[in-house]
Amino acid sequence: MIWVSWRQHRSQAIACLGLLAALAVYAIVVGTSMRTAFGQDDGLVTCLARSQGNGCPDAIHAFTDRFGSEVNVAFWSVLLILPGLIGVLVGGPLIARELEFGTWRLAWSQTVSRARWLTVKLGLVTGGLIVLGAAMTAVITWYRAPMDRLTGRFLPNIYDFEGLVLTAYILCAFGFAVLAGLLLRRSIPAMVAAFIPWLAIRLVVEFVLRPHFQAPLTFHQVCPQNGSCFGGYGLGILPPVTGHIGDWVLGQAAGPAGVNSYLYQPADRFWTFQSIEAGIFVALTATALGATIWLLHRRAA
């Protein structure tokens, strides 16, 4: 069964490796120049070491302006949908192709029960996707390392591609597509039917649920008596108003007069949040794949 699974998914595995290689080439070319620039920027490095980035917004801005466009625009737009595309392209045909071309009659009439057939296949492909997700995360994390020292890892367009969640996004789209393939019996409709709810859940989790995984903390900014207070918050403002690189400022809160209050998630919650979010997507994956195994078993039993 291992050989059969490998033979059937060989071309997908090669395509995934090609994708990973392309990502790595991009990361090495852009990332190396970024690292060199970072290492040569003595003012930035010493300032960061001295003040946690608090005292050198100008140096930070100079660097992020130089490299920020590559990092943010390209990655955000492509990487937002890429995990979903990988997941549905691999998962959609897994059962649907057998049903579409009638080969299920061949596959399930050998001396291997279809429950075992499916379990082995799902196990191997899931394992492959975990390796792919981990490798993509490692490449992106290495590539972004200098930038992360200035921006932290908690901002949405960084958080989504580092840590655990990228892999969990791929698995979730894969699980949805496998189930849709069994229900719809055709590959392309299954991919579409899986991608749409995946993207919807992905965006709802990011914009609605994620800010509240844990109750946000409040930061009070005491303004000088006569001068105007720096009152902005937002993803582009570095370092954040809390003065600690990596804090995720969510918004302004009501506070006493003369004081600006901000809600924020502190940087040290990064891995807790990653675990919670990855847990949500892995649970969705497990539900979809469990339903698939149960439905396929029930058709026969």
């Binding site: 080969t103 299920w104 009659r105 061949l106 009439s109 001396t111 291997v112 279809r114 075992r116 026969a300």
Partner: protein, 319 residues
């Protein structure tokens, strides 16, 4: 519950009141059959008669809604792998993985079947001149059918099930395919079950026959016995059904005569012979066609009909 007598080897196939429902529609119902080991059985019926439903339950692709089923004593409650090991299956349209080579298909067969016979598979491809390195999508329809058959044979299962194996093939490929099936059956004592709506293909091959229409078994048994139990009677057109012996299967009225296919004990037919009637033996194809044209009835209906009519021994012939 199907019980196996420990003293004798179980029949190749035994079903008891087998039925399968799809939603509210029964695909097959009340199917009670027994096919001995070594038989070459033709399963005939129009499209939608329940042939594939019966085959898929035999293979284990479908679970019965009601009734019992045993393949060489292995019931539908046995572990799936044990059931699958008993049956080699050539599905309709010979599904194979298009981007696999023939060698890849055999690798799959070896990986998924503990009893796989690689030598047999390769020898058959050599004899048929099909290169192992060729991709499935580059094979002709006839070659694909042969690869499918070889996959099923190399599994070394005692029952070979063929679902419409030749309906997509040209006449030469049909002939070659059936010749290979019969040669394999003769070599190994394989039990073969062939579902087809091409009646003429089966005539020369089958020693057992099952006719299925509308989800019900109309006729089942050894071909010779079935032929012996039927007669074509040519009688004057005015003869009412009630005067005819046995069970009327099919009646065609022309200007002056009626041609009637009846089913009855041969001895009974002789006793009821009438000087104005002509009785002829029935041909295989004629017999099958008569049952296929018959409105779908359950076996129970036939029993009820036979019971309701007075038996020939008690009813006096009035002429």
């Amino acid at each position: 519950m199907i019980q196996n007598d420990p003293g004798t080897s179980p029949p190749a196939l035994r079903t008891d009141q087998l039925g399968r429902r799809y939603g509210r529609v029964w695909g097959l119902r009340d199917c009670t059959l027994e096919v001995p080991a070594g038989a070459i059985t033709g399963l005939v019926g129009p499209n939608g008669a329940g042939k594939t439903t019966l085959l898929e339950m035999i293979i284990g692709l479908l679970q019965p809604t009601e009734g019992q089923l045993a393949v060489f004593g292995e019931t539908s409650h046995a572990p799936m792998a044990a059931r699958l090991a008993r049956v080699g299956y050539v599905a309709q349209d010979h599904p194979l993985y298009r981007d696999f080579t023939v060698a890849d298909m055999f690798h799959l067969g070896r990986a998924m079947n503990p009893s796989w016979d690689q030598e047999l598979a390769q020898a058959r491809m050599g004899a048929l001149d099909i290169p192992l390195k060729r991709k499935v999508k580059a094979l002709s329809g006839g070659q694909r059918a042969q690869v499918s058959l070889t996959m099923a044979l190399a599994k070394r299962a005692p029952l070979l099930v063929l679902d419409e194996p030749v309906s997509s093939l040209d006449p030469v490929a049909r002939l070659e395919f059936m010749r290979e099936v019969m040669a394999a059956a003769a070599d190994t004592g394989l039990t073969v079950l062939i579902a087809s709506h091409v009646v003429s293909e089966l005539e020369r091959l089958c020693d057992w026959l099952i006719v299925l229409t509308g989800g019900h078994v109309q006729l089942a048994g050894p071909t010779d016995d079935l032929i012996a139990a039927h007669r074509i009677l040519t009688v004057p057109r005015a003869t009412p059904d009630a005067e005819l012996p046995g069970l009327i299967i099919h009646r065609t009225d022309s200007d002056r005569h009626s041609t009637v296919l009846v089913r009855a004990d041969p001895a009974r037919l002789a006793a009821r012979q009438h000087p104005g009637w002509q009785a002829d033996p029935v041909g295989f194809e004629q017999l099958v066609m008569a049952y296929l044209q018959r409105p779908s009835k359950t076996a129970r209906d036939d029993t009820a009909q036979a019971a309701a009519r007075p038996g020939p021994a008690t009813k006096a012939v009035t002429r």
